[in-house]
Symmetry: C2
Subunit: 227 residues, 2 copies
DNA sequence: CGCTAGATTGAAACGAGTCAATTACGGTGG
DNA sequence: CCACCGTAATTGACTCGTTTCAATCTAGCG
């Protein structure tokens, strides 16, 4: 939907956090350079080793970012949603991508060539500032993730993940954005372990599993205490 | 040493990566606002919960950044050296610090108030751009760290750490920047495990331990193969 | 409606953590 | 400059959680 006419494109661009403070002229400039595209579910946006020349901004849908460990296993790094961007590493640091990006469902994604982006960054401080904010936040959450993986045991990580998801959705019905095996990877454990921990929580009457993706939190209080 | 007169201050500032592209006028501006200070070894620059109002830039020495896991154990996040900055999170995202920063040895550190820094960021794109580069790199290495901690076993992490340190120093004599227990924490393992792995490598004739901080790599080839 | 990737469950093996005791380094003060 | 002290490092024995391997089971897409 949308993203077809210059007008709606500018509107879309204005909704992107890193461009939210641009004035009308700047917005127009950016909109001219943006290449919108709808990607089907499961499309590989880029792979490790690719020279991805674009900053990609998500207008709708979800993107999974993962990495291959030295021993060959997939490690899910994060899931990006509406308003998030990806591909910044390849034009900031230069060089080739060292991770993978796949759409989790049909997603509308606008791409900006790195040359254009560099241009905006050097001319529009607000864009750079917003991007700094985002990267700073992302760095912080990755650091939290790191200390959680090394410091907490699997059960705690599962519980705190569920509570975070519930908080984000504002309800006690959690729908996993990715298959359980990917959530497990994100949480730094094997799918079997994740499954067992969830089963344990269900046995304890704290949650109920609804199909493959749904988890209802029955007793938020007790769940947070079990943390 | 130095950092006393306006002239040497400007020189010092020009050596800081994020300020390296400023012109003479801008350099002068920054130098006026910078507050240099020498911190003794072991000084806590700030703690979790502090409202640290400064961006701190390291001119000499080393700073350890760590975090307390939910279960109360210290997790070393990174070690910052000459040219690195810290404290960006508290003025980018706002709010209070969620980690600790301690000097590892006597260090000369220049502080910039966040208001001044915000000012430079909005006026000088090159500063923002350089900072973006740094944060982007930092994010990348934290992600690598994350996937290594979850994906590789302890022995591999020790070996790849040693090889990285050797590469950085350009020799086969590695000197740990921090006590072994802190390296262990950084690598996501207990000191006992780190000690055992090193002992194993020594038994295999791949390295020799020199006092508490020194490690000589005897057989780089075999070491990298054992990876 | 059937197929396939994902999910679940069980049993067994193993790596890292824990606890505890000893040793060694390195910074300090005499 | 040396002896002393405290912290860090090392080592051993044991425990425990997670992984691994393997066998179903099932949800949900085509």
């Amino acid at each position: 939907m949308g993203c077809m006419h210059a007008h709606s494109l500018e509107h879309l661009v204005s909704l992107v956090p890193i461009f939210s403070k641009l004035d009308a002229d700047e917005l127009h400039e950016v909109a001219k350079r943006v290449r919108p595209r709808v990607h089907p579910r499961g499309e590989q946006l880029y792979s490790a080793g690719d020279d991805n020349p674009n900053l990609m901004i998500i207008h709708s849908g979800w993107v999974k970012v993962s990495r291959l460990t030295a021993s060959g296993h997939e490690q899910v790094i994060r899931v990006l949603g509406v308003g998030d961007f990806l591909g910044e590493a390849t034009f900031m640091g230069g060089g080739l991508a060292d991770h993978y990006a796949v759409t989790l469902e049909e997603s509308e994604i606008c791409s900006l060539h790195r040359d254009d982006m560099r241009d905006y960054l050097s001319r529009s401080p607000s864009v750079a500032y917003k991007m700094l904010e985002t990267l700073s936040t992302r760095l912080g959450s990755t650091e939290v993730q790191l200390s959680s993986v090394t410091g907490e045991e699997a059960g705690h990580r599962v519980v705190s993940y569920l509570m975070r998801m519930a908080e984000d959705s504002g309800s006690n019905q959690v729908t996993l954005p990715i298959p359980k095996k990917d959530v497990a990877s994100y949480l730094g454990m094997k799918p079997e372990t994740f499954s067992r921990r969830l089963a344990g929580l269900e046995d304890a009457g704290l949650v109920r599993l609804n199909g493959n993706r749904g988890i209802d939190i029955l007793d938020p209080e007790a769940l947070s205490r079990s943390y």
